[in-house]
Amino acid sequence: DPKVDSLPSRFGLGKPATIAQITPLDIDVRPDGQGLPAGSGTATTGAVIFAAKCAACHGAGGVGGPNGSLVTTTPAPGKRTEKVIGNYWPYATTVFDYIRRAMPFSQPGSLTNEEVYSLTAYLLTANKLFDEKAVLNAQTLPKVVMPAQKLFVPDDRKAGPEIH
């Protein structure tokens, strides 16, 4: 390919990214806790915020609601178990990351880090994954063990005739 051969190692386009440019965008949180901000929260505080800002869409206590449950419940006979944080989410850090970036749906990006810690604590507690008295922060959140984690496997499908 003549193009690849003649590609210079760099074109010199774009500008170096400054810390001031990176920091506000670099909001992702990883399972090992990388990216978690300072601050902390508790389920008790979270319960209050949840009732005010979340329950309208996700139901009182995170069950029911027009946009889906967030908390494990026993399904009615003959019904499938709803896939929620408690039984389906493999990493607790994802709860923090997702709420901070995307919720409340109608006001994304409006929560403080403290609020997000408290809401995460509340939802983990409601799902029986975190002690209701404990403080959730950058140290404790990555340690929360999620029951579904052991179920997750990478893609086992392969090219070729076998059906997966």
Binding site: K3, L7, S9, R10, F11, L13, G14, K15, P16, A17, Q21, I22, L25, D26, I27, D28, V29, R30, P31, D32, K83, I85, Y88, W89, P90, Y91, T93, T94, D97, Y98, R101, A102, F105, P108, G109, A148, L151, F152, V153, P154, D155, D156, R157, A159, G160, P161, I163, H164
Partner: protein, 390 residues
């Protein structure tokens, strides 16, 4: 009847304008509409996507050939379409790189560019449940465009991706701040930072001004309104790659990072809601594979007993919708028609039962690509044959 037209003394252009007002039932006797800055769609053509709160589906049964008109490309977004000013647009690349860099749209367009015709399909592209379902309703979350942009590998070289980077995070600038973890190898391999679609800038619904485009991979990974790429050493386990876009398989396991789109085909004509007549019918449909080229499409017109090779429209492109066609003479008796594709890896599109057999009944609608069966009724009605998970 001819239109009443004042003969204009001075100019041709004025003659045109004066000639238009009256509508004639014989267009050969009335001056037509002069050339314009932007073309139009005939008001007789009623093309529409099927829109819900979270997606809108391409009208596959109404489309011809393989290119999806850009305004009929399916939509799937997680908190609506953002309005982004291209002059303010920036793409940040950082993390495990030598030179964290911010690129403007103009920067991106100055790099060497590539174009390719390829499909984009949402991995949740499956619906069943009733007989009166059209191809659009069953699997309208797939569309095809000619995408143009800069290879991500070019940008990787520009910023100096470090050897330890196995995954990168792609983040959108929409209200969902959509994020997916992508193996860095896909970035080196064939990922495109796309800024154009079917000859023009991306449409807002498809990520204007810039999106990631990962050929052959589940649509959600081709993050739209792309604002940031972070190179890292492990996946982020974002909500979209754990809670969503994962599927139950046997033994209670949950499959994630199932990126490749399995090969699929669907007959788009005849299909609900058309009613057919006896005689020659060209069975038409689309076939594609996220793993490479379509090798063949077979069609059965006797409920799966016998299969015949369909004709494939050239060129057959890698990871692209292919139009297949097969001539059939319908004698008026009740039957079922269906298509199945085989891709170049030897994968044969399975039946619904084969998929359930392989994955268990707990699997959901992700990466669910069964043969679609159309029932032909003696009166010519064509109905979906719904199959249910339990």
């Amino acid at each position: 009847a001819t239109a009443a037209v004042a003969v204009v003394q001075t100019s041709f252009a004025k003659g045109l304008q004066i000639g238009i007002p009256q509508i004639s039932d014989d267009p050969t006797k009335q001056m037509g509409v002069p050339p314009g800055k932007v073309g139009t769609r005939s008001s007789f053509e009623k093309l529409a996507k099927n829109a819900s709160d979270i997606s809108s589906r391409s009208p596959l049964q109404d489309l011809y050939g393989t290119i999806t008109p850009s305004d009929l490309h399916f939509e799937r977004h997680h908190n609506g379409v953002p309005a982004i000013d291209p002059a303010k647009y920036e793409l940040l690349i950082h993390g495990l790189v030598e030179r964290p860099t911010v690129f403007t749209l103009a920067d991106l367009k100055r790099f060497p560019s590539v174009s390719r015709i390829a499909f984009l399909e949402c991995s949740g592209n499956f619906r069943t449940g009733k007989e009166t379902m059209s191809p659009q309703e069953i699997c309208g979350l797939t569309s095809q465009s000619e995408w143009t942009g800069v290879l991500l590998s070019t940008l990787f070289r520009e910023v100096g991706v470090k050897p330890g980077s196995n995954w990168f995070l792609a983040e959108g600038g929409d209200a969902a701040l959509m994020t997916r973890s992508i193996p860095t190898s896909k970035g080196w391999n064939d990922a495109i930072i796309a800024y154009a679609q079917n000859g023009e800038a991306l449409r807002p619904e498809q990520g204007y001004p810039v999106r990631l485009f990962l050929p052959g991979w589940e649509g959600n990974t081709s993050v739209k309104w792309l604002r940031r790429l972070e190179l890292g050493d492990a996946p982020w386990q974002t909500r979209e790659e754990t809670s969503k876009y994962s599927e139950g398989i046997k033994g209670g396991k949950i499959r994630q990072f199932s990126f490749d789109i399995d090969a699929r085909s669907i007959i788009t004509f005849p299909a609900y809601p058309v009613q057919i007549q006896k005689g020659w019918i060209e069975i038409r449909g689309l076939a594609w594979s996220g793993r490479g080229k379509v090798s063949r499409v077979e069609v059965s017109t006797d409920a799966g007993k016998n299969w015949k090779l369909a004709d494939l429209q050239e060129p057959i492109l890698d990871k692209a919708h292919v139009r297949f066609r097969h001539l059939w003479q319908w004698n008026g008796s009740e039957t079922e028609i269906m298509s199945r594709v085989t891709d170049e890896t030897g994968y044969v599109q399975p039946t619904f039962a084969q998929l359930i057999d392989a994955r268990g009944a707990d699997t959901g609608g992700y990466h669910f690509n069964p043969i679609t069966v159309w029932q032909i009724k003696p009166d010519g009605r064509v109905l979906n044959r719904p199959e249910n998970f339990r």
